[in-house]
């Protein structure tokens, strides 16, 4: 069983890294031939970095849009972020001080994440407009994340897992040596779904993560009159 999981995580990591890198390369390679920032837009590069920061950290546009989605979505993402940071302790020895310090918040974050996800799921089911645009995969993503969250919290509150062993397994795996995992139902579910998430990431709507940084309406400087902006394929027309 441990070997299966070890291989699963090696594959999942490879798919995630290679898949995302391919997508990012595709986005980076594709030119944006015209200046299309949604205005009012920043007129300097620093301004654009600030705009992007507000989008990524506060979901500024979503905040303008719908408060409920913003509350649930932001809660879920921020909590996810804290949870991910907390998980770093399984991959480093000794554990970095800031990661040590956030450990106590990690548990609250786990619940906050579930609350956010629950809100998003309810919205998806009950708001007719959101239901209309949802494909089965859109529900499944939320369910997947909810089950990951629940199984994670179960290990904390219901059936304790030997996390020292888990840590040894993952730090070992990072040096490509296969250790043993505790055979706990919650842990196995948790890890299998996390691996699934990693594998699906580059082929799904989770591409919003690299996507936001490449969105021309958000990442362009509003200076078309000052600076000529020309894509290579457009330049070819001039010759």
């Amino acid at each position: 069983m441990s070997t299966v999981y070890a291989l699963l995580f090696i594959v999942a990591t490879a798919v995630l890294v290679i898949g995302l890198a391919t997508k990012i390369a595709q986005y980076a390679r594709t030119p944006a031939p015209l200046k299309i920032p949604t205005t009012p837009a920043p007129v300097t590069q620093t301004g654009v970095v600030m705009r992007m920061f507000r989008e990524v950290v506060f979901f500024e546009s979503l905040f303008k849009s719908t408060k409920w989605t913003w509350i649930f979505g932001w809660l879920f993402h921020m909590a996810l972020f804290v949870v991910l940071l907390r998980h770093l302790r399984y991959f480093m020895d000794p554990v970095w001080l800031p990661i040590e310090l956030i450990q106590p918040f990690g548990v609250y974050a786990g619940f906050a994440m579930l609350a956010g996800l629950g809100g998003l799921l309810i919205r998806r089911i009950f708001v007719d407009r959101v239901r209309y645009i949802s494909a089965p995969s859109d529900y499944l993503w939320l369910l997947l994340l909810i089950i990951i969250g629940v199984s994670g919290l179960m290990m904390k509150f219901v059936a304790h897992t030997d996390i020292v062993m888990v840590k040894q397994f993952f730090t070992g795996l990072m040096g490509f040596s296969i250790g043993t995992l505790p055979i706990d139902f919650a842990l196995l579910v948790h890890l299998a779904l996390v691996a699934l998430l990693m594998i699906l990431f580059p082929f799904s709507k989770l591409l919003h993560v690299p996507g936001i940084f490449f969105s021309p309406t958000r990442n362009q400087v509003d200076n078309p009159r000052e600076k000529r902006h020309l894509a290579d394929w457009a330049k070819a027309m001039e010759e």
């Binding site: 719908t66 007719d128 407009r129 089965p136 709507k205 591409l207 919003h208 969105s215 000529r228 394929w233």
Partner: protein, 514 residues
Amino acid sequence: MAKAEFDVPELQEYVDVPELVEGTMAHLSPYVAKPVHNTPLGFPGELVDDWHDKVLEKLDDLRSRYRSLQVYLDACVKCGACTDKCHYYLSTKDPKNMPVGRQDLLRKVYRRYNTFAGKYFPWLVGAKDLTRETLDEWYSYYHQCSQCRRCSVFCPYGIDTAEISMAAREILDSVGYGQKYCNEIIAKVHEKGNNLGLPGPAILDTLEGLEEDVFDETGVAVKYPLDVKGAEILLVTPSADFFAEPHVDGLIGYGKVFHEAGVSWTMSTTASEAGNFGMFIGSYENMRRVALRIRQAALELGVKRIVFGECGHAWRVAYAFLNTLAGPFDFLDPRYPVPQHICEYTYDLIQQGKLRFDKSTNDDMTLTFHDSCNVARATRMGDKPGGQFDIPRAVIKAVCNNYVDMDHETIGERTFCCGGGGGLLTDDLMEIRVKGALPRMTALQNVIKEEGVTHMAAICAICKSQFTKVLPYYGMEMDQIVSVHQLVSNAIILTGQNSDEEDADSDDEADGDA
């Protein structure tokens, strides 16, 4: 109230987000372009036999040339934030008029043929085969999008449905399934130099007529020059300004401003059109061809500056794309931005104290201002973000005593489209135009009732034409829409005009037809 073959929505105090009703607008499609409209633009005359493969090829081609398209097809998380932001959804309840619903028409095909999940598990991710019905559905709903970009303001990733609908229209054009209205107009620009197909002599005639009118009214010989070599400024303005109300009153205003500034200026027959419908159909090639006329005119006439008249999408192409499409403009005076908007020009003169106004000439009106979508969300004026909102308002306030804004949720970057932008300003789409105007009409009605507003000013030829047609459907008068430079024209005091400024202040002078 004008007659209609469809239900005109009733104005309420607010526009509530409706429950969706599928298919309410499925019946509406604009006239299809004929070979005569398509071939001058470089498109196949009519729907080609191998459209299926050609559509998919074109989609691949566009994805490799437009980052926006590629990223936007991938990134949407179906969060629903945009679903209640489109004026066409709010007024028609049709879920395919929700921005994401509209995008999905193309996205489901992209997913089916270009993504792993869609190839092997189409039902899981809502991927669909490309069929003849898909094509018709694209044709219908991508011509119910005015490319106003309101949705892109609210999407957490800035997904801009306008980019998607431009791409879809380009795909349709590439297989010979284009829209008559846009393609016919672009063909006219290529051939005649303007959207209306007005020949040079007709323009000259009109301009001479204007000179006479202004002289009769003011006693001042304001010139409206055409094709004058060596002029300082080239004015490029939408062709509607040459004859239609209230557009032409704006043109009269630009002329008076130039006159008072004491600057030499000219218009051009080659570039007798600011509009560029190449943008609406997403065709870089056609947009570029249309834009190059302006460069050519500037070179031929040897001007130093280019100024654009009041037109929304034209200002987008001018402000955001002209340098790209037809630049570099290093042969023009580097002290001024290329191009400038007439509002920027007038505003600068006001700041410098070079213009004098008698604001009381506009006292019979209480004004509000409609931010046109392309100006609001795709351009700027002046050097600060948001200048596109402040500068036109500053100009209006400099020439009018009575001004109020509409509900803040409906102006500025959140402005609602007039309903007729993006190549929809054609009679065959009247139903969607009238319905789409609902949010703007509601906000206008509210300031009419609460603040005594009598007129709405705009700086877009499409908005002005659209409102002229649509206001009567909502029980308002067609002449309640005015040009900003019409207000300037009313109030400006020309040096040496009939009743000179001393008694202009005492306000007893006949103020023309204002």
